[in-house]
Symmetry: C2
């Protein structure tokens, strides 16, 4: 049986308890761009990737491992992801 392909969309954000200097800077810039109605900007990473797996659960486990080992730093960041079956 050939493996199935899944696409993962992963979001890695600074922990809510931590300051986010980049987000603060962007919030400040919004005022200068005549967009004072924008606030609480936070900036993180978005990662998309393909996984080969037998099923969606296995794909999710692989992505979980990748997040823990490489993509997110748990001291400063949390992550969320969605898995989609990729059209052949």
């Amino acid at each position: 049986m050939t493996n199935m392909k899944f696409r993962a969309e992963i979001t890695v954000m600074p922990l809510k308890a931590l300051l986010d200097p980049q987000g603060k800077a962007i919030t400040g810039s919004m005022k200068n761009l005549d967009l004072p109605q924008i606030s609480n900007v936070r900036v993180g990473k978005h990662i998309s990737l393909l996984v080969e797996a037998d099923n969606k659960n296995q794909a999710a486990e692989t992505i979980e491992t990748a997040c823990k080992k490489l993509l997110a730093n748990p001291i400063m960041e949390y992550y969320e992801f969605s898995v989609f079956e990729e059209e052949a």
Copy 2:
């Protein structure tokens, strides 16, 4: 009438036609982490923010302006966003 608050989740990714060196490097690292089933990694930004607006359409227009003026570089990046009504 007081304004409503909306939360926007914005994804800014490198254009699909462009190489993404950071993603390529991560794809390579996956092999070394015993995760060769992961491929086609692409890395972009995720931005979350709050907008005050009278309604969801106005909020979406404001976010569109913010993306064009500051958050995304259209030469190298595309953006997508979702808008959610924020609980009071």
